[in-house]
């Protein structure tokens, strides 16, 4: 008693950031991780490119001069031009907007539905869990890109539909992660204590259980955005996602295919952009995992 009374003010002076609690600790650990910061820088660069696209892009991404077609990288066109004379750099910069949109929306769909499924299954258990998880298992039985192709083919080849398809095929991953975390969190004493002060199921799930499941979900979400961007590029490459003349990276790869010998830059730069962005999200996700739960790092 005495000891804690005297120790408390002292602790306050040496820990000025105490009010940030858990998240401050995670941020501090993240900052020390150079690789994660590199990932964060790439992600930040992507976001900036998307926000500042009209300022950054040297040319119009949608129209070009046909006379300038298939020019190699030069001072005028840093990344060269495509078969219609459009500036590849400008198209990549504008393409970042599509990528972010795809990443955020499709992961948002997967996250929202997956979390609800996982939380309901994990919390209620029994037949609810059985039914939900068997549905999830069935979805997992399909190779995800095939399932996405089937869904887009059904809905029609459009960027919007590609986002829906990618969101749907990713639901199982979020549902499983949330379910397994809920299973352990719901047995904790603070959840029992919340019941003991009269909380109802919905309140307990959303206020007490889910916030304590956030760490793995944040990690999966970060990495998931990278994967979703990759999947969307894949669908667009197959002609099922963004339609011309939308500057989408996967579609740009597809455009460059026929002239790969004469204009390799048409495939190289969009490919590089996809790779860097996916790498950035993965590095950041890895770093977040270590920062949010140091115990997971072996």
């Amino acid at each position: 008693m005495l000891a804690s009374e005297t120790a408390a003010p002292a602790a306050r002076t040496i820990m000025p950031a105490r009010q940030y609690g858990l998240w401050y600790d995670a941020w501090r650990r993240l900052r020390q991780n150079k690789i994660a910061i590199a990932g964060a820088v790439i992600v930040l660069a992507l976001i900036l490119a998307a926000l500042l696209a009209p300022v950054l892009a040297p040319h119009n991404p949608l129209s070009g001069n046909i006379i300038d077609r298939l020019q190699a990288p030069s001072a005028a066109h840093w990344f060269g031009t495509d078969s219609q004379g459009r500036d590849v750099l400008s198209r990549i910069i504008y393409g970042s907007r599509i990528s972010i949109q795809v990443g955020v929306i499709s992961v948002g769909i997967a996250l929202l539905i997956g979390t609800l499924i996982g939380a309901a299954g994990g919390y209620y258990g029994g037949w609810v869990d059985n039914v939900l998880m068997r549905v999830v298992d069935i979805m997992l039985a399909f190779p995800s890109i095939l399932l996405a192709i089937a869904i887009t083919a059904m809905l029609g080849p459009e960027l919007k539909n590609a986002m829906i398809a990618i969101g749907v095929v990713n639901i199982p991953f979020y549902a499983r992660i949330v379910r397994s975390t809920v299973l352990s969190v719901k047995e904790t004493e603070y959840v029992e204590a919340a019941r003991a002060i009269g909380g109802n199921d919905l309140r307990i799930i959303f206020r007490h259980v889910l916030p304590n499941c956030m760490a793995p979900v944040i990690v999966q979400t970060t990495m998931g955005i990278g994967t979703a961007i990759l999947d969307a590029a894949g669908l667009s490459f197959l002609g099922l996602g963004a339609q011309p003349p939308t500057p989408e990276w996967g579609a740009m790869l597809s455009d460059g295919r026929s002239v790969m010998q004469q204009a390799p830059w048409m495939m190289f730069y969009p490919g590089l952009a996809i790779m860097l962005v996916v790498l950035g999200f993965n590095l950041l996700g890895d770093g977040l995992r270590d920062a949010l739960d140091p115990r997971l790092k072996q």
Binding site: A8, E189, Y190, A194, I197, G199, N212
Partner: protein
Amino acid sequence: MTETLLQVRGLKVNFNTSAGTLYAVNGVDLNLRRGQTLGVVGESGSGKSVTALAVMGLLPKNTARVAGGEILFHGRDLLRAGEEEMRRLRGNEISMIFQDPMTSLNPVYTIGDQVAEAVLRHRRVDKKQALTRAVEMLKLVGIPEAEQRLRDYPHQFSGGMRQRVMIAMALACNPQLLIADEPTTALDVTIQAQILDLMRQLRDELHTSIIMITHDLGVVAELCDQVLVMYAGRPVEYAGVQAVFASPAHPYTRGLLASLPRLDDDSGRRLEQIEGAPPSLLADPAGCAFAPRCRDAREECRQARPSRREVAPGHLVACHRAGAEEGGFAGGRNAAQSQ
């Protein structure tokens, strides 16, 4: 003062397990009056916590089944109450504190939020008033600088302080009944004493009735008016605290008392122990559940289940042999000496 608050009659709780039906609580009766403290003692698996969870209506729904009995709170049978009614009672009229204060608080919310939540749930107040109440409660349970600490997270508190916060949370709505499930087990000895002092002081100030679940007989002697001793899911002895310590009538109770170390014993003797291990709860034996470990077991103990008898006013014992030969048990002499 003498109004009966809680009455449990013939409570039976079974668990369905893969190995079969487990008879966790088998015919528990108890009576708790306003402002009284009842100690429930027994070893692990004797059904103490299950009894408490049954009163709270918090038994795991998938596996537990109440097989019989009544739990009357103000004369209303809680076993027949709906989920919504139970939710209104929990935290409001009946509260519970748990064994491990290190894990009983949600790590993602501040202390203030968590104490205020109980108030917000049951009273028509806004967030600000609830936080004011939280400060009041934190002061009441002896947390220094309550206004500042309101914004702290659980990991910034020590174990004893967290248990104080748990008590503040449980008492925030002035419940009439507080169930404390081994509230001091996870704390070190000096902190245990502080928490017990706090509970006694709060009981006297707020006139809350307490059910104290523990395996620490010292806690019982400190705090309780009545004692219920449980063994293998059954009540074996139920009496006032003085009677239990001065003239324990059941051989199990005597064994428990004899196994306590004493400060004034320099003889260097080994502590008494109760031979054997508690029986499996998967079977419902015909005779006395304690018979296999009892030094005084006779044929009748193995054949027939002992019914409860009143050996003295208000002193109930479930033993065939209790009072049969006054002081005739080996354990009996021991317990008598230890007083």
